[in-house]
Amino acid sequence: MTAIDPTAHLTAEQIEELGRELDAIRDEVIASRGEKDAAYIRKVISAQRKLELVSRGVLLFSFFPPAWLIGTAGLSVAKIMDNMEIGHNILHGQWDWMRDPKIHSTTWEWDHVSPSDQWKHSHNELHHKYTNVIGKDNDLGYGIMRVDEDQRWHPIHLGQPLWNFINACFFEYGIAAYDLELGKNLHKRRRKNPEFRARAKAVGRKIRKQVLKDYVIHPLLSGPSFLTTLAATFTANLVRNIWSHSVIMCGHFPEGVQVFERRSIKGETRGQWYLRQMMGSANISGSKAMHFMTGNLSHQIEHHLFPDLPSNRYAEVAVKVRALFEKYELEYVTGPLPKQVFSAWHKVFRLSLPNKKPKVKTPDREQELVAA
């Protein structure tokens, strides 16, 4: 889809060999999964809950400004931990192997307005299977943005930097709407579909509970700190939303990340699937703390290759994956957070305007493989 296919130098055999090498990396982690990993996720969950409890406790005194600041910061971090390192990864089934029903993809519910089961469908099933396939993977621009030169420009795209900013601030609601496929389902005929209505109801219920907890119950419990606690929770949600939006933008939007056409995934082999994940994702470099706060989605490339491996193992996997990128002469897109965020936003702005360059047509993968 992009003017020059960065994988054109690989033969079909090489792509399958690459797939086997990635499978071997995966098998190695699975064989060594154990007590330490289980202890890790339990520790993170327990730390998150304690941090949230303490922060909410401090916010009872949030009429006192330093308490507001400390409580809000703590709650923001707790919410980020809940969504990123814990919720996202458990809902991926990364910890299902422990057979602990309390830490399982089928039972987990998170501090987010999108109900777990709906998010699992749109994220795990659609986004991860159809990574960066235009028209199939709605994470690409969340259905509201133009993300590739080849997509037709329309004057409405002029507003996409603004949509993206609003989406960042209210990201959890954006995701809930996106899980519901509102754009498609709000048409007159679809609106009445009972299955859609049931799902919309479930989202409504979850939103009600979340709003009641954050903006009514906890402020009320704070008594004289009612307003300051309300402001604190709003701020924590805002911080969490902007943070997770930024991290997620860095996963697939920065310059250098490839997008794919629907027809390019027809009859895709395992090796080709892996290759698409490699070319369609981007990492964030940084410290251990940075990796933790992104829920290890800073290792987006590794996550997309192995979405069900425990997140605490992505760092060691990344070293081997990066070596494969070098071996097969592929570009490993990574960079520090500010750089990647800027790159993603730059793309959002750039594509809000019509293309300057004429469109270049490339042969699709199937034809190339036949020729090779």
Partner: protein, 351 residues
């Protein structure tokens, strides 16, 4: 009624405070053994019994309802990070003052849980518990004469009985490979010295397996005794036959440890127990496809093992992961990804 209603209200309010978690998710952090929590226990001590057996002292949570001598308990232990459930007989008397209970575990070759408990379990560890269960118990009315016929770790439920209830006339015939393999040997011999028990040890390494016909010589009045037998299937089969042939089957009570032998093969008969359908499957077709073909309503997702949308309970049998070849055997609470698992022998999917 009003107090229940009030408590219900208060709980609802608490749930609103902790949503989307439950209040128990927070309470578990500080008090995992409290009343009302999921039943758990804390290992307080591990006492070696023989070279390959140990007694585990457990402090059960407040919800523990107590047991009857001879019963067993299912425990969930995390081994290498994976929660595994096994059943063990309770060996402590029912009237223990400190409220603790014990199980006695013999490490069996390749037994993940038994080896972990005997060799690696440490005091302080939390384990999951079920309420005790089992009908291998003593009757309300005391029988005049008792015979305990045991072999290997089959002595464990009987030890629970011996420690719990004193009888006037008790005989025990116990089989173990060698003297040092006899679990609770010191305690048994102390009972013998106190004239509370008559004991015959059969050392199978030197004496050979117990021939049930030898009972006439070891315990001449065996047919008059209320008998509790526990051990390997061979011994129990022989005992049942023997008691029947002599027309006293009602005097024999047996306990069979659940056989955990799952033969992992290539394909097999797949039962979808919720739907009541049974079909033959080969070892290469994903169970998701097998179910759909048979008209079972199967949850599905990516169909390539990445979304976990198809996970279903495996109630019995074994399945093979088509990507890694890894075998998963049925245990309570085991869920499998049907899109990347195939039948490895007969199995039961709860769909």
């Amino acid at each position: 009624m009003t107090s229940t209603a009030l408590r219900g209200r208060a709980w609802k309010l608490l749930e609103m405070v902790t949503t989307p978690l439950l209040p128990s998710d927070y309470l578990d952090l500080v008090s995992p053994l409290r009343a009302g929590a999921d039943l758990r226990g804390r290992i307080e001590a591990v006492h070696p019994e023989t070279g390959d057996a140990a007694t585990i002292v457990i402090r059960p949570g407040r919800g523990w309802r107590g047991h009857t001598a001879g019963q067993y308990v299912r425990i969930g232990v995390d081994v290498d990070g994976v929660r595994l459930w096994r059943a063990y007989s309770l060996t402590s008397p029912t009237n223990r003052q400190d409220g603790r209970v014990t199980i006695t575990v013999k490490a069996i070759p390749d037994g993940k849980v038994s080896n972990h408990l005997v060799r690696r379990a440490t005091p302080g560890t939390l384990i999951q518990l079920d309420q005790p269960t089992g009908d291998f118990v003593l009757p309300q009315a005391k029988p005049a004469k008792v015979l305990y016929l045991t072999a290997g770790s089959g002595i464990t439920p009987v030890m629970g009985m011996l420690r719990d209830t004193e009888f006037d006339d008790v005989v025990m015939v116990h089989c173990a490979p060698q003297p040092q393999d006899v679990i609770f040997r010191n305690e048994l011999h102390a009972l013998v010295e106190d004239k509370k028990l008559r004991l015959t040890e059969v050392h199978t390494d030197t004496d050979g397996m117990l021939d049930i016909a030898r009972l006439d010589e070891l315990v001449p009045d065996w047919a008059e005794r209320e008998t509790w037998a526990c051990g390997p299937a061979g011994l129990l089969d022989a005992a049942e036959k023997h008691w029947s042939e002599h027309g006293v089957p009602e005097h024999l009570h047996t306990e069979r440890f659940r056989p955990t032998v799952v033969v992992a093969g290539d394909g097999g008969e797949v039962t979808f127990s919720a739907t009541g359908k049974t079909v033959d499957a080969d070892g290469a077709t994903p169970l998701l496809d097998v179910g759909e073909e048979a008209g079972v309503l199967m949850p599905s997702g990516c169909r390539m093992g990445i979304c976990f949308g198809c996970t279903s309970p495996l109630k019995a049998g074994a399945v093979r992961d088509l990507r890694t070849g890894e075998i998963t055997e049925a245990e309570p609470g085991v869920l499998i990804q049907t899109c990347v698992s195939a039948a490895a022998g007969p199995c039961d999917i709860e769909r």
